[in-house]
Each structure stands twice: as C-alpha cells, then as structure tokens.
C-alpha cells in the first residue's frame, strides 16, 4: 500500500535533538479551544429540546366556568393548564373562621411575592369573599391537597380546625383562604390564579385578569 511506502517515516520525522516547536503547542491549544466551542454549541439544540414545546405553551388558554350552581359550603374542581383549580363557595361561618386563623398561618397577609395577585391581597384572598379560587397544587412539592370543607379532628390537624386543605404527601395544611399553617413544609400560600367574574357574577374565567388579557 502506498501508505506503507510513504517517504516520511513517522518515527524519524521528528529529530529528537531539535528543541520543542512552541507553535505546535499553540496549534494544539487553539484546536482544543475551537473544538470545545463547537462541542458546547452542539449541546445547545439538545439542551433546548427539553424546554416545553410550542404546543405545551399554547395549551394555557383561559377556562370559563359556571359557578351559580355551587351550593354554599361546596366546591368544584376545574382543569386549567393541566392543573386543578378549586372554586369554593364559602359560607358565612367559614368566612368568620378564616379571621381566627390569622395567628396560626405563616403568611396571614400573603406578603410573600408570586402567589397572590394584587386583587386577592385581602382577608379572604379572593375577589368576592364567598368565592375562593386557588390552584389546587401544594406549594411544597406539587401534590394536590385533599379538601376538608367541614370541621374535622385528626392527628396532625390544628384543634379546633374549621376545615381547609390537607396535603397527603407531606402534611402541609391550608385554611379555607388557601393560607398555609405555620411550621409546615409548604413555604407559600396556595396560588391564586388570574381570574375574573362575568358581568352578572354567575361565571368565572380562569386565566384572565387586569394584567393577563385573554
């Protein structure tokens, strides 16, 4: 083969008595650096492919719900962006109970940022006191807490407890305004999604408010 008869013999081509050629070092370093840049650049599309697709991003359309049929003291669950959203019709007694929780909850005035839009920064964390609208996902690690709308007794529950939401995963407890009790794993109150009432007050559109337009 022609390679076997190459005029340059690999072993003899470098004279061991010659001083090292510094330009070789430069070229090796340059080649490694450029190769490294190319390698990192190649990783970009692969890392990027993990981000939510356009389809997943577009799936966040607002949801309209009829709330006139929810009796007082009951709730419904609707799906918005793949998450459960609870709409609770609170009774007068339950609203009274919320006032008594202020000393027991970690963030009574919902001062921590990110979970309570400005329209819900009030005693009941809602637009209308009787309707609570929250995302039913625990702010700890994303389980969906179990609603207990009537007063219950049980191990690990505050006593007396006027009812609220108990996360089965790690035991976080929320009151009927979605506020987390002190010294529980969840750091934040339940998220209040953007929502708006229809003009006659019988329907709610989740995903739309003063800031987020449909």
């Amino acid at each position: 083969m022609s390679q076997d008869n190459s005029p340059i013999d690999g072993a003899a081509s470098v004279d061991p008595n010659q001083p090292p050629d510094p330009s070789r070092r430069t070229w090796v370093a340059t080649a490694c650096a450029l190769g490294g840049v190319a390698g990192v650049a190649t990783a970009v599309p692969f890392v990027g492919s993990f981000a939510p697709s356009e389809k997943a991003r577009a799936a966040g359309a607002p949801v309209e719900v009829d709330i006139s049929s929810i009796p007082p003291g009951q709730m419904i669950t609707v799906e918005w962006r793949g998450k459960p959203v609870w709409i609770v019709h609170r009774t007068k007694a339950q609203l009274e109970g919320i006032k008594h929780d202020d000393a027991l909850v970690a963030d009574p005035n919902s001062d921590r940022p990110g979970f309570t839009p400005s329209f819900a920064k009030n005693e009941y964390r809602s637009r209308k006191p009787e309707y609570l609208v929250v995302v039913g996902i625990c702010t700890h690690l994303g389980c969906s807490p179990t609603p207990h709308l009537a007063a219950v007794d049980g191990p690990g529950l505050p006593s007396p407890w006027e009812g609220g939401f108990l996360c089965p995963c790690h035991g976080s407890i929320f009151d009927l305004a979605g506020r987390v009790y002190k010294n529980k794993p969840a750091p934040d109150n339940l998220e209040v999604p953007p929502y708006a009432f229809s003009s006659d007050g019988t329907r709610i559109t989740i995903g739309v408010d003063e800031v987020n337009k449909a």
């Binding site: 993990f50 981000a51 939510p52 697709s53 997943a56 966040g60 669950t77 799906e79 962006r81 793949g82 998450k83 459960p84 970690a106 039913g136 700890h140 690690l141 994303g142 389980c143 969906s144 807490p145 179990t146 191990p155 690990g156 996360c167 089965p168 995963c169 790690h170 035991g171 002190k182 010294n183 529980k184 794993p185 969840a186 750091p187």
Partner: protein, 462 residues
C-alpha cells in the same frame, strides 16, 4: 504474516487469541484473579447484583416490545401486557420484582462494604464507582416508575421533579425544563422513557465495567480487612491466602444464585405486589392530574431518604443551625485543619447556619435528601479507624453500626406512613443520627481500644 502474536492456545481459540486477547482477559479476571479465601455470606451480593442487572435488561427489552410511551396509551399498554400478551404478566412481574430486589441486593452489598471497610485505601475508586452505580440505579428506578402511568407514578414524579424547584433562583425554570411542560405530561413520560430504556442503562453498564476493573486492579477486600497481597506468596507469585476466582468463587456464587432465585421466584409467583411495597395499590389507578391519592409514598427503597426530606420543617432548621454552629466551634478549637482552612471551614459552617434560617425549609429538605446520598461518596475519607474490618474494632463500634442500621430501617418505615407529629419527630431524630453517624465518623472511628489485627486472614475449612 509479519508481527503475528505467539499464543499458547490452538485451534479456534488460538485463531481468536491472535486477534483478540480472549484467553488473557479470562485469566486476568477469572482463572488467575486471586480472591481471598475467607469470603463469607456477604460476598454473594456483588455477583447477585450483576445477575439482577441481566434480568432487568432482558425482561426490559421484552417489555418495550409491547409498551407504549404515550400519556393516553401507557396505562392501557401495561394492562395489555398483563392480560393479553402471552406470558406478559410473568415478564412484567420479573421486571417489577427485579427492581426491588436490585435495591435489596445493592443495600446489602453496600452494608458489606461498610462492615469490612472495603472502601478504604486503595479501594476508594471501587467505592466511588459503586456509589455512582447506586445513583444511576435510583434514577433508573425513579424514571421507570413513571412509565406505568398510574396515580403513584404520576404524583411520585410530580413530587420528585418539584424537588428541583426548591433550588434558589434557577429552581422553577429547572423543573419546568425537566418536565418539558407545566405539569408532568406526555412530554415528561417520553423523555423518562428514553432515559430509562437507553441513556441510563448505557451509563450503568459502563460504570459496572469500571467498578469491576477498579476492583480487579486493587484486589478484593475480605472480612478480616487484611491485605492478602502483603502476605506470603507461592512459587508463581500468587498470594497463598488467595484462590482463583474461577472455579472457586464462580461455583460458590452459583450457590448464591440458586438461593437468590428461590426467593425471587417465590415473590414473582406468590406475592409480586409484596403487600403494596413492591407495587403500590394506588398505581393500579390511571394517572389523574387533578387528584392526588389520599396517601402517597415512594416505593420502599426511597423511603429512608424521603423521610429525611419530610423531616426538615421550619422549626427543625433551628436545631440544624445550632448543630452547624457547634460544628464550627468544635472545628475551630479542636479540629486539626491546616492553615487558612481552620478559619474558612468554620466560617462556611456559620454561613450555612445563617442560610438555614433565611432560605426556605423546603430547600433544606431537598439538601438533606440529596446530602444523605452524597455523603456516602465521602466515606473513604470520613473513616479514620486504624483497622478496616468491624471484626477488630472496639465492641461499641458494632453498637453504633447497629443503631445506624436500625435508624435507617425506621426512617424507611416512616417514609411509607402518612405524616403525623410523632412520626415527624421520630424522623427528625433519625435524620440527626443518620448525619451524625457520618459527619462525626472522623472523630468516633479513631476512639476506643482496637483489637489486634492478624498478619494473615483467618480461615477455617468446613
């Protein structure tokens, strides 16, 4: 042909040996790999882990032939495997039982290393490769558990992916990136499928090879923790206290395999769900993104670490911060850190104590859970005992090991239970003992009266 290798073998084997070092490899790793002759029961679990890996790969390949990684089809396709595919139930139960038995075998294998100091110099890399295998195994098990797309699959994945969201600043974006959607969804299922069936198994096999190569480079430890290479040698230069792995241990391990397969088959045929521990009852309900089951817990092999995650509450960070400050004072006064480290390490510990109270307890729960696994990597440098094996340690060391094992099991039990105040207090105490065992090891492992270590291994023929 010029440059042809001279080999001792003839015929087909000779033809191969001239082109591939088959006989050399066999000798190096089997027939002329000299292992200490005093291996006991605990030494079955390495080869058993390899056996379970093979079972998982083979059954996994056959499961993939009928499984559909699709949010709408996955649950149904698993039921299809169980009811319609001939022998599908057996293949799936072998795979699900294999997953749990993998952890049984690996935990016992690691405990063996802990007992006999098998991670000590020069076997640090054997241990580190092994720990990397353990991490891969946890990832493999977690992602595989999502695939049946039942309620436990779904909410388990939801919780674990959300662990990453506790990391300050980048957390929420990171967990979104991992899921590929705002909730666990079809996109998540598909990527976990890709990791479970190809990416992690490839890494796992590479690590297993590295684990064995590293082991055969330094030689196996043994229940006495005495180096056989330092002992007398025979005419061929082989240690007289060593015996060739093949045939002595290859045959010995076949007995271990037989015993293991009896247990394995008994579970597969008579109790594949193991009372809800191997296959959780709620996972027979299809995934519902709107409703978390009333009680969710990870599969048993994750529960000790899961307990530590749950143990960290806002009040408990006071205790942890206090421990951190005590550690800083102790290291500053009594520690033998050199130069600037004597200042830097205590300062870091005091900063940790401050962050304990300023960052969310949720973040520290995740740190505790991750740290409980990561700390094992450092075992070779935490253990300062003058002897390797538990046999020659002070008797009270054995009690410490016993406490550690009991605490680990209790944490495991607590992780399967619904949260309540008593259990939470128990898991907080357990978390302190778990971390204390390792973090104080540099201190306690040198204390006490050690028993004289024999020059050669002790061995009594049956």
């Amino acid at each position: 042909m010029a440059g042809e290798k001279t080999v001792e073998t003839t015929g087909l084997l000779g033809w191969i040996d001239k082109r591939f070092p088959l006989t050399t490899l066999f000798k190096e790793h089997m027939s002329e790999y000299y292992a200490p002759k005093n291996f006991n029961f605990w030494y079955f679990f390495g080869s058993l882990a390899l056996l379970v890996l093979v079972i998982q790969i083979v059954t996994g390949i056959f499961l993939v032939m009928n499984y559909k990684p699709d949010g709408n089809l996955a649950f149904g396709s698993v039921e299809f495997i169980m009811r319609e595919v001939p022998w599908g139930w057996l293949i799936r139960y072998m795979h699900s039982t294999g997953a749990s038995m993998f952890f049984v075998v690996v935990y016992l294998h690691m405990l063996r290393g802990l007992f006999y100091g098998s991670y000590r110099k020069p076997r640090e890399l054997v241990w580190i490769f092994g720990m990397a295998i353990f991490l891969c195994l946890m990832g493999e098990a977690f992602m595989g558990y999502l695939l049946p797309w039942g309620q436990m699959s779904y909410w388990g994945a939801q919780v674990i992916v959300n662990l990453f969201s506790a990391i300050p600043f980048i957390g929420p974006e990171l967990s979104l990136w991992i899921r590929g959607d705002y909730v666990v969804s079809d996109a998540t299922l598909n990527r976990f499928f890709a990791f479970h069936v190809i990416a992690i198994p490839l890494i796992l096999i590479g690590l297993v090879v590295a684990h064995i190569i590293a082991l055969h480079e330094v030689g196996s430890n043994n229940p006495d923790g005495v180096e056989i290479k330092a002992g007398p040698k025979d005419a061929n230069g082989h240690p007289v206290d060593g015996i060739p792995f093949h045939p002595y241990y290859s045959v010995h391990d076949i007995m271990g395999v037989a015993g293991f397969l009896i247990v394995f088959a008994a579970i597969v045929f008579f109790g594949p769900e193991m009372g809800g521990y191997f296959l959780e009852y709620n996972n027979f309900i299809p995934a519902d993104s709107l409703k978390t089951p009333p009680h969710i817990a990870p599969v048993w092999y994750f529960t000790p670490f899961y307990s530590m995650l749950r143990a960290i509450t806002a009040d408990f960070t006071w205790v942890l911060a206090a421990c951190s400050i005590l550690g800083a004072i102790a290291l500053f006064i009594k520690g033998n850190l050199k130069g600037a480290w004597r200042i830097i390490v205590p300062v870091i510990l005091i900063l940790v104590a401050i962050f304990m109270r300023t960052l969310d307890a949720k973040f520290w729960g995740v740190v505790a859970m991750g740290g409980s696994v990561v700390i094992l990597f450092f075992l070779p440098w935490l253990d300062h005992s003058p002897v390797r094996s538990i046999r020659y340690r002070p008797t009270w060391h054995k009690f410490l090991y016993a406490i550690f094992i009991v605490v680990f099991l209790i944490l495991g039990f607590l992780g399967t239970q619904p949260p309540n105040p008593t259990f939470n207090l128990m898991s907080q105490i357990g978390t302190l003992i778990y971390f204390g065992f390792f973090l104080l090891m540099p201190v306690w492992s040198r204390l006490g009266t050690f028993k004289p270590v024999p020059d050669r291994i002790t061995f009594h023929a049956h």
